[in-house]
């Protein structure tokens, strides 16, 4: 499946051009910084540097942009781990276990694990891309509303009542999130719940709402604490422990591979992308673990699952962009715009005529993943110093940066207002023991499920049995039901065992 002549051409292209290399490290650093700033998404970081690429040659321009993409993909996990605020929407699941790890003083390990899982995820995804770009793009294009809805429901079932002690409160929180997700115009053109406010026409701004919910629920809970990490002896920043975190990734190959597979595939589906992939991967890792109750309390496997999935989405979304010229999300849309600026039209013809350039882009991304290990370690080393910062300085700074990020992403006061409203809501919810994470999951998945279910219904013309024409969707739902039944049975047994142990005789 690899065209050897073109492959050799690609190697020569990269080996013979200094231009293709000088932009990698700056690109990664820009991506890391913007990815780490809450509110600035991967695609915004790329849009910001897009004008600069106009003055570069085509290949260096694309390599620069993909470096930013790779860097930002990991950058989002830094604030997710250190302050429970995902830097991008694709790092939501990273907060679930990364932040508890940080509070226990294991921030070095958490960031190391996130970094290595990200780098290996990128590597795996581009390896898949190298071998399977064409067939993968073909499969992904055929995924219709039934399959997408099944994927969404799968995620909802896995994560619906996440993070709560009470199932009822978890379901309430998830339901609230889904309701928030339905505000705005639906895919059939009907307006719901916009209250006449033009800023709500497209729905509640997701990222400010998410940052508000997660930041408020945690930062207000920290009011009496002096530092994120309570124990002074644990506040050290240690290269050895960052690398030890990396080693943990290698000891959980199954979690890593499953996360990468989910990321490549789900990330490749246009319109779904990495923010769904990292939730799904986390949910799957938790479900299939022998001890699911360890998740959410600082289990490194949660970080690995989330980070391997969100970074491997990069390779997945590149597949449809390179093979079909279809952008799967904001980041690949910017790449396509960069293609256009250099008078290159992405798509099947580009793949055929410039196979060597495509290989060069892929090979350069292998190198980027490797370089990210080094650049990322240095960056993480610097960024973790914030655990030494007293919270009375850290919390206001985080709130200011989040507010600015919310303004930047919406380009108007609607962002900060959303942030504020959802911060209050997040505080209220966590004050009364509702899991805020479930609201975020509902917000992210609710819209997807609603849109796709509506389309499925339209496609069926109202016939509920029409779903039988879509074996893959049926298979996903069936698998989900079986695994659900198994875990319910396991829970009942465990509970019975606990009860028997508690009341002997």
């Amino acid at each position: 499946m690899i065209d050897t002549a073109a492959f050799a051409g690609a190697v020569a292209m990269l080996a013979g051009s200094l231009d293709a290399w000088v932009w990698v490290v700056p690109g990664l650093l820009i991506g890391l910084v913007f990815g780490a700033l809450p509110g600035i998404s991967v695609s915004m970081a790329m849009a910001l540097v897009l004008p600069a690429t106009l003055y570069m040659e085509f290949l260096p321009a694309i390599i620069f942009l993909t470096s930013v993409y790779t860097g930002a993909g990991f950058g989002g996990s830094i604030p997710a781990v250190l302050i429970n605020i995902p830097g991008t929407s694709s790092a939501v699941a990273t907060t679930f276990d990364g932040y508890p790890m940080a509070r226990q003083g294991r921030h070095n390990e958490a960031l190391g694990a996130a970094l290595f899982a990200s780098c290996i995820g990128v590597l795996i995804s581009y390896l898949v891309l190298l071998l399977l770009v064409q067939p993968m793009a073909e499969v992904v294009l055929r995924i219709g509303p039934y399959e997408m809805a099944a994927i969404g429901i799968w995620g909802m079932v896995l994560l619906g009542s996440i993070g709560g002690a009470s199932v009822a409160k978890g379901l309430f929180a998830a339901g609230l999130g889904i309701l928030f997700g339905t505000v705005g115009m639906n895919t059939a053109g009907y307006m719901r719940g916009d209250m006449g406010i033009p800023w709500l026409l497209d729905g509640i701004p997701t990222i400010p709402a998410m940052v508000g919910l997660l930041a408020a629920s945690q930062l207000f809970a920290l009011v009496n604490a002096k530092f994120i990490v309570e124990a002074e002896s644990e506040r050290r920043i240690s290269l050895r422990r960052i690398l030890a975190g990396g080693a943990m990734v290698l000891r959980s190959p199954l979690t890593l591979l499953r996360g990468s597979a989910i990321g490549v595939f789900v990330g490749a589906v246009p319109g779904i992308g990495s923010s769904i992939a990292n939730l799904l991967s986390y949910g799957e890792a938790k479900r299939s673990a022998a001890d699911p109750s360890a998740f959410g309390k600082g289990d490194v496997r949660g970080v690995i699952a989330a980070e391997s999935a969100n970074s491997s989405s990069e390779g997945g979304s590149m597949a449809t962009m390179l093979a079909l010229g279809i952008p799967g999300g904001g980041a690949t849309a910017i790449l396509l715009a960069a293609f256009a600026m250099h008078n290159v039209i992405g798509g099947p013809r580009f793949m055929e005529q410039s196979r060597d350039v495509v290989y060069a882009i892929i090979l350069s991304n292998f190198a980027q993943a490797a370089i990210l290990v080094v650049v990322g370690t240095i960056f993480v080393y610097g960024a973790s110093t914030i655990v030494r910062l007293p919270l009375r300085y850290l919390i206001p700074s985080v709130l200011v940066v989040s507010t600015m990020g919310a303004f930047a992403i919406e380009g108007s006061i609607a962002g900060p207002i959303t942030l504020f409203v959802f911060a209050v809501l997040g505080w209220l919810l966590s004050r009364y023991g509702f899991p805020v994470a479930a609201v975020v999951v509902g917000l992210l998945l609710g819209r997807l499920i609603e849109t796709e279910m509506l389309r499925a219904w339209q496609l069926a013309g109202g016939d509920p049995w029409y779903v039988l024409n879509y074996p893959w969707a049926v298979a996903i739902v069936a698998l989900m039901l079986v695994s659900l039944a198994l875990s319910v049975r396991r829970d009942i047994r465990r509970r019975r065992a606990v009860r028997d142990a508690a009341s002997p005789g």
Partner: protein, 334 residues
């Protein structure tokens, strides 16, 4: 509009004749523009308007003598961008690159936007897109006649992918009406954007679909164009039958609305308040559009550089708006 424009325009022409030499620095000597110009795109990055704005920016810059930057303000089917634009001062430092028709009238009809069609003034709308009826290349459907026969026999026999509140939907309704197809029973699947609709058609998720033809060009090989809603042959799809021909054979009067008409837009208020500045902008857009380098560069990116001028562009914009108003009930989903 044209009558009210006469006075200021004539005055502007006189000014141009008296003082201005046809070079950019001379234009600037008048005091405008003395800072960068912003092109506001009411869509996200990567779409046609965004690409058009970014591709035109360097040429506009060359002919206006000031840097030209692009700003995206997507949301609410352009309501957010349009509202923001009208809130700006009438100083000429911002122009829009917009699918003005049908997006402005449609946003008024379906989103209860508070501006009016007359609030916007077209400088030039070089890109004219037509609705195409298409299916995936590997579908068994070969001709538009097969689609008609199938839908007449049983309206539920084919699923149709379409954007709600779009010119494509109006065209589909007119098409069904002409052929006596019961539209309310057709399995219409809605997509909120041209991109998702095209993916669904190209992937065969829906049997057929109606969407703007230009966006399909990068994946032309994957689809089979069955009918173009236009009265002239498309240069991009020379083999695709056009509606007027199809209607003649089928024996009905052809009726259709134009797809997206995209290009440079300013506020009508600005044109009236600042005729000299409007004149400078108009001249810069015209020169940039006719610049041979620009034509070559944009041509390579499959972007249009036709010069229709304000009169023809405003006429087309008003005509589409009037048609959309006529089908307002349909667009609102009733």
């Amino acid at each position: 509009m044209t009558t009210t424009m006469h006075g200021p325009r004539r005055r502007a022409l006189l000014a141009a004749g008296a003082g201005l030499v046809a070079t950019a620095p001379a234009v600037r000597a008048q005091g405008f523009p003395e800072r960068p110009i912003t092109l506001l795109v009411p869509f996200a990055t990567g779409g046609y308007n965004d690409r058009l704005a970014r591709a035109m920016a360097p040429f506009l810059q060359k002919h206006i003598g000031q840097p030209v930057t692009v700003m995206n303000r997507p949301g609410g089917a352009t309501v957010l961008g349009n509202t923001f634009f009208l809130q700006q001062p009438d100083d000429g430092y911002m122009m829009m690159v917009h699918s003005a028709a049908p997006f402005i009238p449609v946003s008024i009809i379906t989103r209860n936007a508070r501006y009016r069609v007359e609030d916007f003034f077209m400088i030039n709308l070089p890109s004219r897109d037509a609705t195409v009826l298409a299916c995936a290349a590997d579908k068994p459907i070969r001709t538009v006649e097969e689609v008609v026969a199938s839908l007449r026999r049983d309206p539920r026999s084919l699923s149709v992918g379409i954007q709600p509140a779009s010119a494509d939907l109006v065209n589909f309704a007119l098409f069904c009406q002409a052929h006596g197809i019961e539209r309310s029973r057709v399995r219409v699947v809605t997509y909120d954007g041209g991109g998702p609709a095209r993916n669904a058609i190209a992937g065969g998720v829906v049997d057929v679909g109606l969407v703007g033809a230009e966006g399909f060009l990068p994946i032309k090989e994957r689809i089979r164009p069955l009918l173009i809603f236009s009265d002239e042959k498309s240069t991009d799809y020379p083999d695709a039958p056009i509606l007027t021909e199809h209607a003649r054979v089928a024996g009905f009067a052809p009726q259709f609305v134009e797809g997206s008409q995209r290009g440079f837009v300013v506020a009508s208020r600005f044109v009236q308040a600042q005729p000299e500045r409007y004149r400078i902008l108009l001249q810069a857009v015209e020169r940039a559009t006719k610049d041979p380098d620009c034509i070559a560069t944009l041509g390579g990116q499959q972007l249009a550089t036709t010069w229709y001028g304000p009169e023809a562009s405003n006429r087309a914009y008003r005509a589409t708006s009037a048609l959309m108003e006529r089908y307002a009930e349909l667009l609102r989903g009733n």
